[in-house]
Symmetry: C2
Subunit: 338 residues, 2 copies
Amino acid sequence: MTTPTLRDVAHAAGVHPATASRALNPATRGLVNAETARRVIKVAEGLGYRPNPIARGLKTAKSATIGLVIPDLTNPLFPPIVRGIEDVLEPAGYSGLIVNTDNDPERERAQVELLRSRQVEGLIVATALVEHPLLEELHRQRVPMVMVNRRPAGLDVSSITPDDAGGIEMAVDHLASLGHRRIAHLAGPSETSTGVTRSRAFTNAVRDRGLDDDPALVLACDLWTEECGADGLRTLLDEVGGFTAVVAGNDLIALGCYDVFAERGISCPRDMSVVGFNDMAFLDKLAPPLTTIAIPHQQIGAEAARMLLEAIADPSRPARTVQLPLSLVVRGSTAAVG
Amino acid sequence: MTTPTLRDVAHAAGVHPATASRALNPATRGLVNAETARRVIKVAEGLGYRPNPIARGLKTAKSATIGLVIPDLTNPLFPPIVRGIEDVLEPAGYSGLIVNTDNDPERERAQVELLRSRQVEGLIVATALVEHPLLEELHRQRVPMVMVNRRPAGLDVSSITPDDAGGIEMAVDHLASLGHRRIAHLAGPSETSTGVTRSRAFTNAVRDRGLDDDPALVLACDLWTEECGADGLRTLLDEVGGFTAVVAGNDLIALGCYDVFAERGISCPRDMSVVGFNDMAFLDKLAPPLTTIAIPHQQIGAEAARMLLEAIADPSRPARTVQLPLSLVVRGSTAAVG
DNA sequence: CTGAAAGCGCTAACAA
DNA sequence: TTGTTAGCGCTTTCAG
């Protein structure tokens, strides 16, 4: 009771395997008598024939597979992006192979090796280190590739990013409209492109709006985590002070602020406002619900997949850079300055 | 500048491709002169040779790939399980192909088809419908398979589940020790095996402990969501009442309770205690932090992958059922009855 | 429009 | 221990 092969179908339909192949493949169906094609298709269905993409891949040197390189699936940022990707890959007949790098360059290298050995036709890369020799290498080898969440410095590679600067501006505008004049920024790690982009945008935004642009108010956290966010806020509170609001590099860092508020008896939003970035799930259940910048994760993923598919179909196509607009979600962690 | 094939390596090393194959494959390396093997390996490295698993798969009818069937990657329950799976798959040289079913039986069928056409060697299934003709079919076709989070009713299939009953007992014990005597249960959907298992365990637990076992205190939600949890609690409050604590079928349902507390001015935990199930991320940031039952997600995934690999290696191996112990995480949503 | 033949890259008998 | 041969299931020239 082995699964039927193309030969079986051809036999049953009384044609040559090559003809069966042509009939079954929509792209070549035109080369075959419509009647014959119909018959082959019917027989194939009857037999429950399903083409073996491995065999096909061997012949065509295509795997109908693409690699997704992400830092950690467990980070709530990524699942929606992955779904967005799968949503466009699937109808196109492609599958995604996911690997986690844990932001470890060696691991990343090994995992990309693995993907390449599995003959992926392209890569969607969602890791965000600023230094990235591996990517340059891949680019040189003409591996179709699109970057997610980061713009590759100096690399002529397609990318799709949220409008980080725009998001930060919205956050600052919101806070300014509530009367805040001295706003701190707990930036993401300075090795990450997202971290530096947002940080730079923050500095510009406060300056442009004539708010207090004391550089001491900007502090980069070591990691995108609650702990580092908490540490950062403690430092800012102890060594700088005088601010009434903080723009966090992401939601996790904002959550770290909540911890410090609790430990120091600071009331949010009465004493201090916070805004996050990303709009992770369940932020509305916090106390107070976190005001944040929402990213269209799923769209980002979908768009990335579309771009990659295009690049695979036409490798000569020039790299594109797409920025998706963000939106401010106002909740309870921001209020007019007391 | 095409990537080197086994033939290229063989040529360069002055041996026959078959010999090169044997030398390069650790499993067959013993069949070859150690010196020759060393030379072939060195040449392969020099050339940057990387075996093509597609070609290998075509020959051996193995894809070194397994399918992960989950409802929705976006549900925070699954990413840690997936990581646990990948963590054991990877060193074994396997990769996982993830598909999302959205709990839609038709979609599930299509996705499983897709996986099978991609020649996966086995399936890890984490969907939890009680009725599951598809699974029976697959089982009949001897597809190696392990179930995660659910025990297949009547099906002789390996499974790995959390000890749901034990978890519920811990929750009830905890509440009882705080003096609660009349406890409600907002169960998961009765089409899900997890929902009914926990619900049954709850009924037994309250009866065994001599607590109020009024059946009206148990209500099944339509979905594992906040909304349905909220609806359920409203119904219970309006039509039954008199309870001082609720055991929720999962954390999301517990979150729904929080919404109702807010809307009715019920103070948690002073007026009412709640315990969740799963220990999703960030529950400690809620107000109040949610007391819940923690599931070792990653271990579950890892164990499932191990079992599947065993089943693939030895299909005659009988099905096993593993239950992983849970733990109670006491936080702020439970307190002694006022 | 269809059949014949070759071969993608690799491995598994079998023979030497 | 190594080479020969054949073939996994499919697609793709090239003839017919």
